[in-house]
C-alpha cells in the first residue's frame, strides 16, 4: 500500500515537472511551432502554395542513395570488413520518407473493438 502511494506520489511529481517543461518552451520555439502549424494547414486549405512539398519522390531519393552507396562500395579499399548488415536494408531506411505505412491497420482494429463500448 505504502509502495503504491510512493509510486503515485512519484508519478505526480514527474507529471508536474513535465508540465512545467511544456510551459517553459521558449518564445522562439513557440513561434516556429506556430509557423509549422500554419504550413501544415496550408497543405490542406491552400494546396497551390504547398502542394509541391508532398509530391511523392521516393525514386529520385532512392536512386541518389543507391549511387552514393555504389560509389562507396567501388572506391573503398577491398580489405575492409563487410558492412554488419545487409546494405539494401539500410538503404531502404535512409531513402524512405515514409516509414509510417503500417500506421492504420491495428489502430483501426482497436477502434473497431472500442466502438461497441463507446458512450
Amino acid at each position: 500500500m505504502k509502495n503504491q502511494d510512493d509510486e503515485n506520489s512519484f508519478l505526480k511529481k514527474v507529471k508536474h515537472s513535465l508540465d512545467q517543461g511544456e510551459e517553459n518552451i521558449s518564445a522562439e520555439t513557440l513561434s516556429r511551432l506556430h509557423r509549422i502549424r500554419q504550413e501544415a494547414l496550408n497543405t490542406k486549405y491552400n494546396k497551390n502554395a504547398w502542394g509541391i512539398k508532398w509530391i511523392p519522390m521516393p525514386y529520385p531519393a532512392l536512386a541518389t542513395a543507391a549511387m552514393v552507396l555504389l560509389a562507396v562500395l567501388i572506391y573503398l579499399p577491398g580489405d575492409r570488413e563487410q558492412a554488419p548488415v545487409n546494405p539494401l536494408d539500410d538503404l531502404e531506411i535512409l531513402a524512405s520518407n515514409n516509414l509510417d505505412f503500417y500506421e492504420d491497420l491495428d489502430f483501426y482494429a482497436w477502434l473497431a473493438e472500442e466502438e461497441p463500448n463507446a458512450g
Binding site: 512519484f10 501544415a40 497543405t43 573503398l76 535512409l94 516509414l99 489502430f107
Partner: protein, 184 residues
C-alpha cells in the same frame, strides 16, 4: 471551410507543445524535434484530419511516435555506416548493438547522477527519460503524462496491451531508481 480550418488549428495548437517536448526528450535535440513535429502535423493533416474528431488525438500521437521511432532507426543506421566508413576508424568497434532500436537506450544521454547533484530536477528527469529504451520511454510518456489508458497506449505504440504494461512497469522502476536521490 473556415470553421473546419479553425477546428483543426485548435486541435494542432492543443498538441504541438507536448509533441515537441516528447520529441525533444527522445532525440535530445530541438531542431530534430521540430522536424518530427512538422512531419507529424503534415502527415496527420493529409491523412487523418477528415476522421472523426474523437480519433484525432490518438492518431496524432501514433504518427508522432512512429516518427520518433523512425528518427532513432535512421540515427542507428547512420551511426553504423559512419563507423564503417571511417578511413582510419575503429572498424572493429561494435558500438551499435544487435538489439532492435526499441530496446536501445539513447547513447547521447549520460551523467544523470551529475545533473542530479546539480539539483536540476527538470534536466535530471529529462536525462533519465532519455536514457530509457525507446519503447519504455514511449509507454511512460503516453501513460503517465498523456494519461492514456493501456489500450489506447497499445494502439498508439502498435503493440499488445501486455507489452505496454511491461514497458511501463520497467520504465517506472528504472526512473525511480535513477531519480531516487533527487527530489522527484
Amino acid at each position: 471551410m473556415r470553421d473546419s480550418r479553425r477546428t483543426i488549428e485548435e486541435f494542432l495548437a492543443s498538441v504541438e507543445r507536448r509533441a515537441f517536448r516528447m520529441a525533444q526528450i527522445s532525440t535530445g535535440n530541438s531542431e530534430d524535434a521540430l522536424d518530427i513535429v512538422q512531419d507529424s502535423m503534415f502527415i496527420w493533416v493529409r491523412k487523418y484530419s477528415e476522421k472523426p474528431e474523437e480519433e484525432w488525438r490518438p492518431l496524432f500521437f501514433r504518427v508522432l511516435q512512429n516518427k520518433i521511432r523512425d528518427w532513432h532507426r535512421r540515427n542507428k543506421v547512420r551511426n553504423r555506416w559512419r563507423i564503417w566508413l571511417q578511413p582510419w576508424g575503429k572498424s572493429n568497434e561494435e558500438t551499435v548493438g544487435e538489439n532492435s532500436i526499441e530496446h536501445l537506450a539513447d547513447p547521447a544521454v549520460k551523467e544523470i547522477g551529475d545533473q542530479m547533484v546539480l539539483g536540476h530536477s527538470m534536466q535530471a528527469l529529462e536525462a533519465a527519460l532519455a536514457a530509457l529504451p525507446l519503447r519504455q520511454q514511449q509507454a511512460f510518456l503516453l501513460r503517465a503524462w498523456e494519461e492514456m489508458n493501456v489500450r489506447e497506449t497499445a494502439a498508439v505504440m502498435g503493440c499488445s496491451e501486455g507489452s505496454v504494461k511491461t514497458h511501463y512497469s520497467r520504465a517506472v522502476h528504472a526512473l525511480r531508481n535513477l531519480l531516487e536521490d533527487h527530489q522527484l
